[in-house]
């Protein structure tokens, strides 16, 4: 800094300290800083919401390329054939190797692609899958109460019957849960549609939803957004 001008001897002998363009640089820096104040949080917010961070739509490589599209979509195997505890317990359950082998001891028995499954079964070593859907440790989600009260699989997991390799369909952030817990009637389905992966809210959902909510005894949004419903 120049300090106080009065402290310096006056006169023409003093060299010019700043070039004429110095003000422009100064203003540019100020403007950049100011825009950074805005841009950086926006950028940061964008990054944390990006699929790169949330993992939405990204199918990680798995020990073997299991296709939900083939099994659940084309062959039409029910979700509950493998995810056996989804109607009874908090966890839907990941099928044991035994479940795969109920069919694959009969069909595609020589397939290279299925070698990890056969090895797992013969060597009694579990398959280790990459985990797709995660919730923080302080969130307690219960599958059974959702599927028995009219929330279908695809509302959270997307249409897995269209996924060749399975990926995360939604970032399970608090906002995602709250959208539904605030107004559950928007996403409630009739019991027959729970396992339908292609279900979309019908045109009359606005009238159907509240009817279903009453039929399922779904409590109102005020109750469902209480902290203790998910956090304990």
């Amino acid at each position: 800094m120049n300090g106080n001008a009065d402290d310096r001897p006056s006169g023409f002998g003093t060299a010019q300290l700043f070039s004429p363009g110095a003000d422009a640089i100064y203003r540019l820096v100020l403007m950049t800083l100011a825009s950074c104040l805005v841009a950086l949080p926006v950028l940061a917010a964008g990054i944390v919401r990006s699929n790169y961070v949330t993992g939405v739509g990204i199918a990680p490589s798995q020990p073997l390329p299991f296709s939900h599209k083939h099994h659940a979509g084309e062959l039409g195997i029910d979700c509950r054939y493998c995810h056996t505890s989804v109607e009874k317990e908090a966890s839907a359950g990941i099928p044991p190797t035994h479940t795969c082998m109920t069919c694959h001891s009969q069909i595609w028995t020589g397939s290279d692609m299925l070698k990890p499954v056969r090895d797992s079964y013969t060597e009694d070593k579990p398959l280790v899958w990459k985990r797709l859907n995660k919730l923080p440790g302080y969130v307690y989600f219960n599958h059974s109460v959702h599927v028995t009260k009219g929330v279908g699989c695809s509302s959270c997991h997307g249409d897995v019957t269209s996924m060749q390799m399975t990926y995360r369909a939604n970032a399970f952030e608090m906002q995602f849960c709250l959208d539904c817990h605030r107004a559950p009637e928007k996403n409630l389905r009739p019991p027959a549609e729970i396992w339908n992966m292609e279900w979309k809210p019908p045109a009359d959902q606005a009238s159907l939803g509240p009817t279903l909510a009453a039929r399922y005894h779904v409590r109102g949004g005020e109750r469902l957004t209480e902290c203790g419903i998910c956090h304990r």
Partner: protein
Amino acid sequence: MTGTPDLPALRARLQGGDGPRFWRSLDAVADSDEFRAYLAVEFPAASRLAAQPGRRGFLKLMAASFALGGLTACGADGRDYEVPYVNEPERIVPGAPLSYASSALFDGFGNGILVTTRNGRPLKVEGNPDHPWSRGGTDVLAQASILGLYDPFRSQAVQHLGRPASWAAFNGAMAAQTAAWRAASGRGVALLTGPVTSPTLAAGLARWREAYPEARWFTNSTRDGLLEGARRAYGRPVETLPDFGRARAIVSLDGDFLDLGPGQVGLSRRWSDARRAALAEGRLLPLYSAAPTPGLTSAKADDAVPVPAGRLEELARAMLAAAGGGAAPAGDDPAGRWAGRAWAALGQARGAGIVTAGLAASPDLHALVHRLNGALGNTGATLHHVAPAAEAGAGSLADLAGAIDRGEVQALIVLGANPVYDAPGALRFAARMERVPLKIHAGLYYDETGAHADWHLPLAHPLESWGDVRSLDGTVGLIQPTVAPFYNGHTPPEVLAFLAGADEGTDALGLLKRRWRREGEDDAAFDGRFAEALRKGFFADGAAPAEAVTLTGVPPTPPAPVPAPAGGIELAFRPDGTLYDGTHADLAWLQELPKPLIKVVWENVVAVSPALAAREGLANGDLVRIEAEGRSLTGPAWILPGQAETTVTLSLGYGRDVPDHLSRGLGYDAGLLRPVDTPWHLAGARLVRTGETRMPATTQHLGALPDDAEGRAIIRRQVVGAAPVGDPTDAAPAPSFYPPPDSQDRWTAAQWGMAIDLDTCTGCNACVTACQAENNIPVVGREEVARGRWLGWIRIDRYYEGDPEAPATHFQPVPCMHCEAAPCELGCPVEATLHDSEGLNLQVYNRCVGTRTCQSYCPYKVRRFNYLDYSGGMPPVTQQQRNPEVSVRARGVMEKCTYCIQRIATARIDSAKDAHAPIPDGTVETACQGACPTRAISFGNVADPQSEVSAAKRDPRNYSLLGHLNTKPRTTYLAGLAPAGREGKRP
């Protein structure tokens, strides 16, 4: 006491009415400046932190906190892989709880438990409500046994001369040895065990004796004196079981039926049931207690007096003389007057009285008590006798020492005992053991005895092994594994069968089945019977039949009076209030559990009476040396109201010396001074001040509540038949600044509430440990406790009332009150604590930013703050014990009792799936409620008039703690009962 008590001044304060009616310590009575300062800052830890930096420092700290606060949210978010089974085991559903009936071991005796497992991991111990002896209750050791399973200090491998070896190496080494023993008929072989109540182990012992007829068997038992007393009265050892339900008066002469011990769970339940039944009939079942040192039994007594151990027999003799037609006992000292009152109650209740003595009573006192009961007609009416659950026929530890001295022991096998630590110091067992050529030790821990043995063998934990055990009444409980063994341990019957050279298999399940298969029983019949017993956890027909007893011989003659040395003190040795004998001293839950009366953690203290402290100029924490019979130990003095004047109590279980173990270096080893022939008392010891001071960590004043001068006392006492002391139910609601419940809808859900019966709460601490196990509450360590950072969600406040020398004692468990108008909720700047529509005061950890405002707003002081990352440092194996249904709290987060919201959520979800069918009463049981051996805690829906908790709250004894603050607490208390004329009486 931060200073030496000035007894006359304290008495004057109490009698003059200046002092508090209920007080926790003599500091509180003295109302010292230190104590006022403690009260004023509520949580001393917080004030110390804030008082240090000035304004600028404070602002800097706050700025740094704000800047860095967000960073704590960064970090990995859990595992990112899924591992399904290869073959899913039958009945195991990932995440779903699965319970097994089993038995918890207490010093060789059993209590029925249910072990809850999830994902194949045992997580929590509950009482087995069908078990004939324990009836659904548990004690602290059973609750903490789950931590014992995951204890990283457990022995994990065979050791030979202190080096890791293997079972194969041991088997190889033993092959020649057992052949040699067999050739010599077992001469020179000695087996030392704890009390053997397991029928399978007893059968193994029989086979061992067949194999080695000349081998000798010794036990290290704490109950010898009790059985010897019965032998002196009846000619044979029998166990005495009181039937409180038929009793009209109970007199305890150093009795311990409510104290931590193998009988605690079953006897507490029977006593509390009888006490409730008596109240329902409009009377009090009075309990009179005389004891040298206060325990839970004397604390619950309606009329307690401190009497030195040496005088108890004199009181019993006086009563026995009166029962035989002599003069009623009388005296002009407190003990004499007490004996007069106790005798009056007993005399009126002939045939319906109970006189009881405890573990620490001398055999002669037991014999006198048996005779007194016989003379009063109580024997057979209110007292039943059964064969002792433990096998008889073993020699004592002193016998073993003698045999070693005579060179009769060439090989010593120690099976599940630790004599090097717990043998009386006079035996010098470690030195004696060195003289035995071959020493084999099998134990759950590589302990002091293991270190002195040639071979150490790891035993399996009861939660991972097969076995059986008898309860005090003879009921046979089964032990079944709830998880595959962690380490390479075997069970005691397996080790014994191997050493006996069994050729027909030595696996625990095989031995168990072999013991229980009846002669000629076919497979199907046996399998059905065995499976049913496994399902229930016990054999239905196991209890021992009552035996008729007749008094034989003559009453023991009084010993010649020995003149007491001037200034001498009497030592009382007692099992520790939380550790018992120290076998489980490595369990941090038990170390950090405040002793029921002393309220000290992480060490034992030298308990002295206020009078002795005044005479010797002692204050709490003054290190004193206790000298007796040429040996001495040093420990911190602790002033214990209700202690007999010249009795000094030393508690067992501390002073452990196993390298690297948690328990090492904590407290002093009282066993050093224990005499051999009278293991519980020693007359003629000396107490010497060392001049040094080291203050033990205590929770005595944690959450101190102001004693209300206007008579709205923290503790209320109800005289049977007198006007109710509870809150009136018809009073108009007081005006409140809080909004009323916002809509009717708010009350359609279940409304959770709790009622705690202070009359049947014995202060046993089972609820505290159960809460710790259920809710992932970490231990914080001694230094943190000393800073006031004890983390338990339910604390048991212990209050005294009356004269410091012989006060009445009251316990009050204090969990979160779940106030309907909760002050804490107003304070939180981020709404991390708020109400839900079921009346729960929620604590949302992920919202909490740790301002601790709620803590300072809470009038009950039940909120706990994570000053440090207490959970993160736990060993990985111990982290396996955590309940996956409950969040593990991070540093900087407030926590408190949630009414076990995870259990409520489970019931709520089940009901939601069932069209919101009302949750049946009793479905949700909180951890504290489930653990309580006396069912003192009731919990449920207060909006349902039919529920148990609603019935409890309709009791005229029901009152709210600090109810005048208008917080409308959901947790309320039922006033304890008081005998007529003693309520509210100042000393």
